[in-house]
Symmetry: C2
Subunit: 205 residues, 2 copies
Protein backbone atom coordinates (compact mmCIF):
# COMPACT_ATOMS: atom_id res chain seq x y z
CA UNK A 1 0.00 0.00 0.00
CA UNK A 2 2.34 2.72 -1.23
CA UNK A 3 -0.06 5.58 -0.40
CA UNK A 4 0.13 4.80 3.31
CA UNK A 5 3.91 4.76 3.18
CA UNK A 6 3.98 8.38 1.99
CA UNK A 7 3.85 11.24 4.48
CA UNK A 8 0.71 13.32 4.83
CA UNK A 9 2.46 16.43 3.54
CA UNK A 10 3.46 14.72 0.28
CA UNK A 11 0.01 13.16 -0.12
CA UNK A 12 -1.63 16.56 0.34
CA UNK A 13 0.54 18.18 -2.34
CA UNK A 14 0.11 15.25 -4.70
CA UNK A 15 -3.68 15.37 -4.27
CA UNK A 16 -3.69 19.13 -4.80
CA UNK A 17 -1.78 18.80 -8.06
CA UNK A 18 -4.36 16.31 -9.33
CA UNK A 19 -7.27 18.53 -8.25
CA UNK A 20 -5.69 21.59 -9.88
CA UNK A 21 -5.15 19.66 -13.10
CA UNK A 22 -8.79 18.51 -12.99
CA UNK A 23 -10.52 21.76 -12.21
CA UNK A 24 -8.18 24.57 -11.27
CA UNK A 25 -8.24 26.64 -8.12
CA UNK A 26 -11.86 26.05 -7.24
CA UNK A 27 -11.53 22.26 -7.45
CA UNK A 28 -8.75 22.36 -4.84
CA UNK A 29 -10.91 23.31 -1.87
CA UNK A 30 -9.52 22.26 1.49
CA UNK A 31 -12.22 19.61 1.98
CA UNK A 32 -11.53 18.13 -1.46
CA UNK A 33 -7.79 18.10 -0.78
CA UNK A 34 -8.17 16.34 2.57
CA UNK A 35 -10.56 13.77 1.08
CA UNK A 36 -8.37 13.04 -1.94
CA UNK A 37 -5.18 12.93 0.14
CA UNK A 38 -6.80 10.68 2.76
CA UNK A 39 -5.13 12.97 5.29
CA UNK A 40 -6.54 14.21 8.60
CA UNK A 41 -7.75 17.82 8.33
CA UNK A 42 -5.42 18.77 11.16
CA UNK A 43 -2.40 17.89 9.02
CA UNK A 44 -3.51 20.53 6.53
CA UNK A 45 -3.22 23.28 9.14
CA UNK A 46 -0.10 21.72 10.59
CA UNK A 47 1.87 21.61 7.33
CA UNK A 48 0.26 24.59 5.60
CA UNK A 49 -0.54 27.20 8.24
CA UNK A 50 -1.22 29.87 5.59
CA UNK A 51 -4.03 27.78 4.13
CA UNK A 52 -5.13 27.32 0.56
CA UNK A 53 -2.80 29.81 -1.11
CA UNK A 54 0.17 28.03 0.51
CA UNK A 55 -1.02 24.56 -0.45
CA UNK A 56 -1.73 25.60 -4.04
CA UNK A 57 1.56 27.49 -4.28
CA UNK A 58 3.56 24.52 -3.02
CA UNK A 59 1.61 22.13 -5.25
CA UNK A 60 2.43 24.28 -8.29
CA UNK A 61 6.06 24.29 -7.17
CA UNK A 62 5.96 20.46 -7.15
CA UNK A 63 4.16 20.34 -10.51
CA UNK A 64 6.30 22.82 -12.46
CA UNK A 65 9.56 20.80 -12.47
CA UNK A 66 7.67 17.71 -13.74
CA UNK A 67 6.58 19.60 -16.85
CA UNK A 68 10.06 21.14 -17.12
CA UNK A 69 11.52 17.61 -17.16
CA UNK A 70 9.06 16.57 -19.84
CA UNK A 71 10.06 19.58 -21.97
CA UNK A 72 13.73 18.71 -21.54
CA UNK A 73 13.19 15.01 -22.27
CA UNK A 74 11.31 15.84 -25.47
CA UNK A 75 13.17 18.86 -26.83
CA UNK A 76 16.71 18.73 -25.42
CA UNK A 77 17.83 15.82 -27.58
CA UNK A 78 19.70 15.39 -30.83
CA UNK A 79 16.68 14.25 -32.83
CA UNK A 80 15.41 16.29 -35.77
CA UNK A 81 13.19 19.19 -34.78
CA UNK A 82 9.87 17.71 -36.01
CA UNK A 83 10.60 14.60 -33.99
CA UNK A 84 11.35 16.63 -30.86
CA UNK A 85 8.21 18.76 -31.17
CA UNK A 86 5.98 15.77 -31.92
CA UNK A 87 7.38 14.02 -28.85
CA UNK A 88 6.53 16.93 -26.55
CA UNK A 89 2.90 16.96 -27.66
CA UNK A 90 2.67 13.14 -27.73
CA UNK A 91 4.01 12.89 -24.16
CA UNK A 92 1.43 15.47 -23.07
CA UNK A 93 -1.31 13.46 -24.79
CA UNK A 94 -0.17 10.30 -22.98
CA UNK A 95 -0.38 11.99 -19.57
CA UNK A 96 -3.85 13.37 -20.38
CA UNK A 97 -5.10 10.05 -21.71
CA UNK A 98 -3.84 8.28 -18.58
CA UNK A 99 -6.19 10.55 -16.60
CA UNK A 100 -9.15 9.68 -18.82
CA UNK A 101 -8.76 13.17 -20.38
CA UNK A 102 -9.89 14.63 -17.05
CA UNK A 103 -6.58 16.33 -16.22
CA UNK A 104 -4.61 18.95 -18.11
CA UNK A 105 -2.02 21.56 -17.17
CA UNK A 106 -2.40 22.72 -13.55
CA UNK A 107 -1.03 26.17 -14.36
CA UNK A 108 -3.44 26.60 -17.27
CA UNK A 109 -6.43 25.59 -15.16
CA UNK A 110 -5.39 27.96 -12.35
CA UNK A 111 -4.78 30.81 -14.82
CA UNK A 112 -8.41 30.79 -15.94
CA UNK A 113 -9.68 30.97 -12.34
CA UNK A 114 -7.66 33.94 -11.05
CA UNK A 115 -9.40 37.02 -9.70
CA UNK A 116 -7.76 40.13 -8.30
CA UNK A 117 -7.49 39.35 -4.59
CA UNK A 118 -4.13 39.21 -2.80
CA UNK A 119 -3.97 35.41 -3.01
CA UNK A 120 -4.81 35.55 -6.72
CA UNK A 121 -2.06 38.07 -7.34
CA UNK A 122 0.47 35.89 -5.56
CA UNK A 123 -0.56 32.79 -7.53
CA UNK A 124 -0.63 34.78 -10.78
CA UNK A 125 3.01 35.82 -10.29
CA UNK A 126 3.95 32.24 -9.60
CA UNK A 127 2.06 30.90 -12.66
CA UNK A 128 3.63 33.58 -14.84
CA UNK A 129 7.11 32.68 -13.59
CA UNK A 130 6.46 28.98 -14.27
CA UNK A 131 5.28 29.57 -17.84
CA UNK A 132 8.27 31.87 -18.41
CA UNK A 133 10.61 29.15 -17.20
CA UNK A 134 8.97 26.53 -19.45
CA UNK A 135 9.20 28.94 -22.37
CA UNK A 136 12.92 29.43 -21.74
CA UNK A 137 13.45 25.66 -21.65
CA UNK A 138 11.43 25.32 -24.85
CA UNK A 139 13.54 28.04 -26.49
CA UNK A 140 16.72 26.22 -25.45
CA UNK A 141 15.23 23.15 -27.11
CA UNK A 142 14.90 25.03 -30.41
CA UNK A 143 18.57 25.86 -31.06
CA UNK A 144 17.91 26.09 -34.82
CA UNK A 145 16.36 29.48 -34.07
CA UNK A 146 18.90 31.90 -32.61
CA UNK A 147 17.62 34.52 -30.15
CA UNK A 148 15.39 36.48 -30.22
CA UNK A 149 13.59 34.14 -32.61
CA UNK A 150 14.05 31.22 -30.22
CA UNK A 151 12.76 33.21 -27.23
CA UNK A 152 9.56 34.16 -29.07
CA UNK A 153 9.18 30.62 -30.43
CA UNK A 154 9.59 29.19 -26.92
CA UNK A 155 6.83 31.42 -25.58
CA UNK A 156 4.61 30.57 -28.54
CA UNK A 157 5.23 26.83 -28.04
CA UNK A 158 3.89 27.05 -24.49
CA UNK A 159 0.88 29.04 -25.74
CA UNK A 160 0.13 26.36 -28.34
CA UNK A 161 0.65 23.56 -25.81
CA UNK A 162 -1.82 25.14 -23.38
CA UNK A 163 -4.42 25.75 -26.10
CA UNK A 164 -4.05 22.23 -27.47
CA UNK A 165 -4.54 20.69 -24.02
CA UNK A 166 -7.77 22.62 -23.67
CA UNK A 167 -9.02 21.29 -27.01
CA UNK A 168 -7.78 17.75 -26.29
CA UNK A 169 -9.65 17.77 -23.03
CA UNK A 170 -12.93 18.72 -24.72
CA UNK A 171 -12.46 16.20 -27.50
CA UNK A 172 -11.01 13.51 -25.21
CA UNK A 173 -8.56 12.83 -27.99
CA UNK A 174 -4.89 13.30 -28.85
CA UNK A 175 -5.85 14.71 -32.27
CA UNK A 176 -5.70 18.42 -31.30
CA UNK A 177 -2.24 17.87 -29.78
CA UNK A 178 -1.04 16.06 -32.92
CA UNK A 179 -2.43 18.80 -35.18
CA UNK A 180 -0.90 21.53 -33.02
CA UNK A 181 2.52 19.82 -33.11
CA UNK A 182 2.40 19.61 -36.91
CA UNK A 183 1.33 23.26 -37.22
CA UNK A 184 3.95 24.50 -34.76
CA UNK A 185 6.58 22.60 -36.72
CA UNK A 186 5.53 24.35 -39.95
CA UNK A 187 5.97 27.69 -38.14
CA UNK A 188 9.35 26.71 -36.65
CA UNK A 189 10.54 25.45 -40.03
CA UNK A 190 9.56 28.72 -41.67
CA UNK A 191 11.33 30.79 -39.00
CA UNK A 192 14.46 28.59 -39.22
CA UNK A 193 14.55 28.95 -43.01
CA UNK A 194 13.98 32.69 -42.95
CA UNK A 195 17.13 33.24 -40.94
CA UNK A 196 19.24 30.81 -42.99
CA UNK A 197 20.08 28.79 -39.90
CA UNK A 198 20.54 25.02 -39.95
CA UNK A 199 17.08 23.44 -40.09
CA UNK A 200 17.46 20.45 -37.81
CA UNK A 201 20.75 20.92 -36.01
CA UNK A 202 21.47 19.12 -32.74
CA UNK A 203 21.19 21.01 -29.50
CA UNK A 204 24.32 22.45 -27.94
CA UNK A 205 24.60 20.73 -24.58
Amino acid sequence: MPRLATGARERILEATVVLLREGGLSAAGLNEVVARAQAPKGSLYHYFPSGKVQIVGEALAVYAPCVASAIRAALHTRHPRSHRIRRLFADTAKRMQASGWLQSCAVGAVALDLGDGDDDRQLRSQCQAILRQWATLAAEGLPELPPPHAAAAGRYLITVLEGAQLQARLQRSAAPLREAAAAFDIYADSVARSIDGPIDGPIAS
Copy 2:
Protein backbone atom coordinates in the same frame (compact mmCIF):
# COMPACT_ATOMS: atom_id res chain seq x y z
CA MET B 1 -30.63 52.51 -14.67
CA PRO B 2 -30.42 50.24 -17.71
CA ARG B 3 -29.87 47.09 -15.64
CA LEU B 4 -33.35 47.41 -14.13
CA ALA B 5 -34.87 47.75 -17.57
CA THR B 6 -33.64 44.30 -18.58
CA GLY B 7 -35.59 41.19 -17.62
CA ALA B 8 -34.35 38.87 -14.90
CA ARG B 9 -33.81 36.03 -17.38
CA GLU B 10 -31.48 38.14 -19.54
CA ARG B 11 -29.66 39.50 -16.49
CA ILE B 12 -29.09 35.97 -15.17
CA LEU B 13 -27.63 34.78 -18.47
CA GLU B 14 -25.49 37.91 -18.84
CA ALA B 15 -24.15 37.50 -15.29
CA THR B 16 -23.45 33.82 -15.91
CA VAL B 17 -21.43 34.61 -19.05
CA VAL B 18 -19.28 37.05 -17.05
CA LEU B 19 -18.78 34.55 -14.21
CA LEU B 20 -17.87 31.77 -16.64
CA ARG B 21 -15.36 34.04 -18.36
CA GLU B 22 -13.88 34.95 -14.97
CA GLY B 23 -13.59 31.53 -13.41
CA GLY B 24 -15.32 28.80 -15.37
CA LEU B 25 -17.97 26.41 -14.13
CA SER B 26 -17.13 26.68 -10.46
CA ALA B 27 -17.34 30.49 -10.47
CA ALA B 28 -20.91 30.30 -11.76
CA GLY B 29 -22.50 28.91 -8.62
CA LEU B 30 -26.20 29.70 -8.24
CA ASN B 31 -25.57 32.09 -5.36
CA GLU B 32 -22.92 33.96 -7.35
CA VAL B 33 -25.22 34.18 -10.38
CA VAL B 34 -28.13 35.54 -8.33
CA ALA B 35 -25.89 38.09 -6.62
CA ARG B 36 -24.23 39.25 -9.84
CA ALA B 37 -27.54 39.38 -11.73
CA GLN B 38 -29.28 41.22 -8.89
CA ALA B 39 -32.14 38.81 -9.47
CA PRO B 40 -34.37 37.13 -6.89
CA LYS B 41 -33.34 33.50 -6.31
CA GLY B 42 -36.88 32.44 -7.23
CA SER B 43 -36.39 33.73 -10.76
CA LEU B 44 -33.51 31.27 -11.17
CA TYR B 45 -35.79 28.30 -10.55
CA HIS B 46 -38.59 29.89 -12.52
CA TYR B 47 -36.60 30.47 -15.70
CA PHE B 48 -34.15 27.58 -15.34
CA PRO B 49 -35.97 24.66 -13.72
CA SER B 50 -33.12 22.25 -14.57
CA GLY B 51 -30.66 24.30 -12.51
CA LYS B 52 -27.03 25.05 -13.09
CA VAL B 53 -26.45 22.90 -16.16
CA GLN B 54 -29.35 24.67 -17.88
CA ILE B 55 -28.16 28.15 -16.89
CA VAL B 56 -24.59 27.45 -17.99
CA GLY B 57 -25.76 25.80 -21.20
CA GLU B 58 -27.97 28.75 -22.10
CA ALA B 59 -25.25 31.23 -21.13
CA LEU B 60 -22.78 29.45 -23.44
CA ALA B 61 -25.44 29.57 -26.16
CA VAL B 62 -25.64 33.34 -25.68
CA TYR B 63 -21.84 33.70 -25.57
CA ALA B 64 -20.92 31.56 -28.59
CA PRO B 65 -22.52 33.77 -31.28
CA CYS B 66 -20.74 36.86 -29.87
CA VAL B 67 -17.36 35.23 -30.48
CA ALA B 68 -18.59 33.94 -33.84
CA SER B 69 -19.44 37.53 -34.81
CA ALA B 70 -16.01 38.68 -33.70
CA ILE B 71 -14.37 35.97 -35.84
CA ARG B 72 -16.46 37.02 -38.84
CA ALA B 73 -15.81 40.73 -38.29
CA ALA B 74 -12.06 40.14 -38.14
CA LEU B 75 -11.51 37.39 -40.71
CA HIS B 76 -14.37 37.60 -43.21
CA THR B 77 -13.13 40.77 -44.87
CA ARG B 78 -11.12 41.64 -47.94
CA HIS B 79 -8.05 42.79 -46.03
CA PRO B 80 -4.72 40.98 -46.41
CA ARG B 81 -4.41 37.86 -44.30
CA SER B 82 -1.92 39.26 -41.75
CA HIS B 83 -4.23 42.21 -41.17
CA ARG B 84 -7.25 39.91 -40.65
CA ILE B 85 -5.40 37.62 -38.22
CA ARG B 86 -3.93 40.51 -36.26
CA ARG B 87 -7.39 42.05 -35.96
CA LEU B 88 -8.89 38.86 -34.49
CA PHE B 89 -6.24 38.72 -31.77
CA ALA B 90 -6.31 42.49 -31.19
CA ASP B 91 -10.11 42.47 -30.76
CA THR B 92 -9.76 39.63 -28.25
CA ALA B 93 -7.11 41.62 -26.38
CA LYS B 94 -9.44 44.64 -26.27
CA ARG B 95 -12.27 42.62 -24.73
CA MET B 96 -9.89 41.12 -22.15
CA GLN B 97 -8.33 44.46 -21.29
CA ALA B 98 -11.81 45.99 -20.83
CA SER B 99 -12.35 43.39 -18.08
CA GLY B 100 -9.08 44.30 -16.36
CA TRP B 101 -7.66 41.02 -17.74
CA LEU B 102 -10.02 39.15 -15.42
CA GLN B 103 -12.14 37.58 -18.15
CA SER B 104 -11.19 35.30 -21.01
CA CYS B 105 -13.04 32.77 -23.16
CA ALA B 106 -16.02 31.24 -21.32
CA VAL B 107 -15.70 27.99 -23.26
CA GLY B 108 -11.99 27.70 -22.45
CA ALA B 109 -12.60 28.29 -18.76
CA VAL B 110 -15.41 25.72 -18.66
CA ALA B 111 -13.32 23.18 -20.61
CA LEU B 112 -10.68 23.09 -17.87
CA ASP B 113 -13.30 22.45 -15.16
CA LEU B 114 -15.16 19.51 -16.68
CA GLY B 115 -15.38 16.20 -14.85
CA ASP B 116 -17.19 13.06 -16.00
CA GLY B 117 -20.64 13.49 -14.50
CA ASP B 118 -23.77 13.64 -16.68
CA ASP B 119 -23.89 17.45 -16.54
CA ASP B 120 -20.20 17.64 -17.46
CA ARG B 121 -20.75 15.37 -20.43
CA GLN B 122 -23.61 17.51 -21.65
CA LEU B 123 -21.58 20.72 -21.32
CA ARG B 124 -18.52 19.09 -22.90
CA SER B 125 -20.55 18.23 -26.02
CA GLN B 126 -21.80 21.79 -26.18
CA CYS B 127 -18.32 23.30 -25.75
CA GLN B 128 -16.93 20.95 -28.38
CA ALA B 129 -19.68 21.96 -30.82
CA ILE B 130 -19.01 25.65 -30.17
CA LEU B 131 -15.25 25.35 -30.78
CA ARG B 132 -15.97 23.30 -33.91
CA GLN B 133 -18.27 26.04 -35.17
CA TRP B 134 -15.70 28.76 -34.45
CA ALA B 135 -13.04 26.68 -36.21
CA THR B 136 -15.27 26.36 -39.29
CA LEU B 137 -15.82 30.13 -39.33
CA ALA B 138 -12.07 30.67 -38.93
CA ALA B 139 -11.40 28.26 -41.80
CA GLU B 140 -13.87 30.17 -44.00
CA GLY B 141 -11.91 33.29 -43.09
CA LEU B 142 -8.72 31.73 -44.47
CA PRO B 143 -9.74 31.23 -48.10
CA GLU B 144 -6.09 31.30 -49.21
CA LEU B 145 -5.87 27.77 -47.83
CA PRO B 146 -8.17 25.38 -49.69
CA PRO B 147 -9.60 22.47 -47.72
CA PRO B 148 -8.40 20.36 -46.00
CA HIS B 149 -5.60 22.83 -45.21
CA ALA B 150 -8.12 25.51 -44.26
CA ALA B 151 -10.07 23.17 -42.00
CA ALA B 152 -6.92 22.21 -40.05
CA ALA B 153 -5.76 25.84 -39.95
CA GLY B 154 -9.16 26.94 -38.62
CA ARG B 155 -8.99 24.40 -35.80
CA TYR B 156 -5.40 25.41 -35.06
CA LEU B 157 -6.34 29.10 -35.01
CA ILE B 158 -8.89 28.45 -32.25
CA THR B 159 -6.28 26.41 -30.33
CA VAL B 160 -3.80 29.28 -30.54
CA LEU B 161 -6.46 31.84 -29.60
CA GLU B 162 -7.39 29.86 -26.48
CA GLY B 163 -3.77 29.38 -25.43
CA ALA B 164 -2.93 33.02 -26.02
CA GLN B 165 -5.87 34.19 -23.90
CA LEU B 166 -4.61 32.01 -21.05
CA GLN B 167 -1.15 33.61 -21.31
CA ALA B 168 -2.56 37.13 -21.73
CA ARG B 169 -4.63 36.66 -18.62
CA LEU B 170 -1.58 35.69 -16.54
CA GLN B 171 0.53 38.50 -17.95
CA ARG B 172 -2.33 41.03 -17.94
CA SER B 173 -1.02 42.13 -21.30
CA ALA B 174 -1.89 41.98 -24.99
CA ALA B 175 1.67 40.87 -25.80
CA PRO B 176 0.98 37.09 -25.87
CA LEU B 177 -1.97 37.71 -28.20
CA ARG B 178 0.16 39.88 -30.49
CA GLU B 179 2.98 37.31 -30.56
CA ALA B 180 0.52 34.50 -31.23
CA ALA B 181 -1.05 36.41 -34.12
CA ALA B 182 2.38 36.98 -35.71
CA ALA B 183 3.36 33.33 -35.25
CA PHE B 184 0.06 32.03 -36.61
CA ASP B 185 0.49 34.27 -39.63
CA ILE B 186 3.95 32.79 -40.32
CA TYR B 187 2.35 29.34 -40.23
CA ALA B 188 -0.55 30.37 -42.48
CA ASP B 189 1.83 32.03 -44.91
CA SER B 190 3.94 28.89 -45.10
CA VAL B 191 0.88 26.68 -45.71
CA ALA B 192 -0.45 29.09 -48.36
CA ARG B 193 2.91 29.10 -50.17
CA SER B 194 3.32 25.35 -49.99
CA ILE B 195 0.12 24.79 -51.95
CA ASP B 196 0.81 27.53 -54.49
CA GLY B 197 -2.42 29.30 -53.66
CA PRO B 198 -2.85 33.06 -53.74
CA ILE B 199 -1.29 34.46 -50.57
CA ASP B 200 -3.72 37.21 -49.65
CA GLY B 201 -6.79 36.67 -51.78
CA PRO B 202 -10.11 38.19 -50.73
CA ILE B 203 -12.72 35.95 -49.22
CA ALA B 204 -15.42 34.58 -51.50
CA SER B 205 -18.64 35.90 -50.05
